[in-house]
Symmetry: C2
Subunit: 239 residues, 2 copies
């Protein structure tokens, strides 16, 4: 029988855990994953994990398939939890009891719980947004009320220990804000420079006033109807 001397004990690592499930919008994950992977290089005790029900290959919204590096059971108590979103696959994930259980228990253990895009619907279904201000992709923003949340049209929304980001690319901004909170602005700015995040969209910022969001409402409705055909209670809740 071997004994481990106290001095050999590993220092506590702060694990930033991203939840992977089939069909996610890959950029929802890879934006903040890149920011937090950069954070692990600063010697502050952070590590990053991509956590799934299994570590086999999973599809994404692109031709690229990906694999998690750890299972839910291996990361029961992350420091920070981040749930990416997507389209129909994310809506279907709202009926995945194992995923919801993991999100609920990991969030309870975590210092911060975050989401990108429609990942906030998963936080909502896990019961984590009741009474909170929150955001999501603009196509689903008004649906947050189904979970007792107060929808907010901001790039990211911090309410207590829960931080939700708007659609897809908003995860990069949210992650840099979180780095501000947990490691300070010098580190956040160094990461921004490292990933050369100096955005210049060719047509400038989105011109929301010129964008007919209501025209997309039937698309949102169709996605819900298709994705939740086998889950009438969820569908009724979100319609």
């Amino acid at each position: 029988m071997t004994r481990t001397p106290a001095s050999a004990a590993q220092p506590a690592r702060k694990t930033v855990a991203f939840v992977l499930y089939p069909g996610i919008t890959l950029l929802d994950l890879v934006g903040p994953l890149t920011v937090f992977t950069s954070l692990t290089r600063f010697g502050l005790g952070f590590e990053v994990a991509v956590v799934g029900a299994h570590t086999g290959t999973m599809s994404t919204d692109t031709p690229l398939s990906v694999s998690a590096d750890r299972t839910y059971a291996e990361v029961p108590a992350p420091y920070l939890l981040c749930v990416p979103g997507g389209e129909e696959p994310t809506l279907r994930a709202l009926a995945d009891a194992t995923l919801l259980d993991y999100v609920r228990t990991a969030s309870a253990a975590a210092t911060w719980t975050t989401s990108v895009c429609t990942g906030s619907l998963i936080l909502g279904e896990a019961g984590l947004l009741a009474g909170r201000r929150a955001t999501t992709h603009w196509m689903f923003r008004d649906r947050l009320t189904a979970f007792g949340a107060v929808p907010v049209a901001e790039r990211w929304v911090e309410d207590g220990d829960v931080i939700t980001a708007a659609g897809v690319s908003a995860g990069i901004d949210m992650a840099l804000h979180v780095v501000d909170l947990i490691a300070g602005d010098t580190v956040a700015k160094a990461i921004q420079t490292g990933i050369e995040y100096d955005p210049q969209p060719p047509h400038g910022p989105i011109d929301w006033a010129a964008t007919d969001l209501a025209a997309c409402a039937p698309m949102t409705e169709a996605m819900l109807t298709t994705a939740l055909a086998d889950h009438p209670a969820l569908l009724a809740k979100l319609r």
Copy 2:
């Protein structure tokens, strides 16, 4: 023996091909991949492929491992080629003759050749940047002269049919610009809204004047020395 009637012939697809190799900076790939995957939904005949030496799992700069969906041989003549970059692994890829051969022949067949971050070094080593204005991650910008290119400090640089982007996140802006060119600004703006690319870095744009780029020169040097230890001619060329 079956005969295919002329009417059953598939219309020509325009393939947007991303080159995957081990250890890439994943966001270099996933930013433009997301933009072009959105483009495939507009019924304009575009398709997206992630092309590698094999379709098995490859590492990235994050804990996420990924798989290409096609091999080089399966996509000999893409419409558009995009080469993502990275750190040491991309420098090592400069010595990968099979990769360079694919980039060279696919580019010759392509209407557009693009890169993100240090992916432009691969274009350079393939002989595609001689005499051209080009950019890359700011840490390696001055090294572009090793390939006869003219380094330019812009978010993306278009010179003839070659478009190079600056570091990592610049691939999103470059891809939206390319969509402008090949599908028009209405489509480009719709994709921008779809991925909610309305950037709000918490500390604003990068303050280049306050950033000590020269302090990173030893890091660039160390990366080159480590990555190209077994390739002295390449190392001498890039130092």
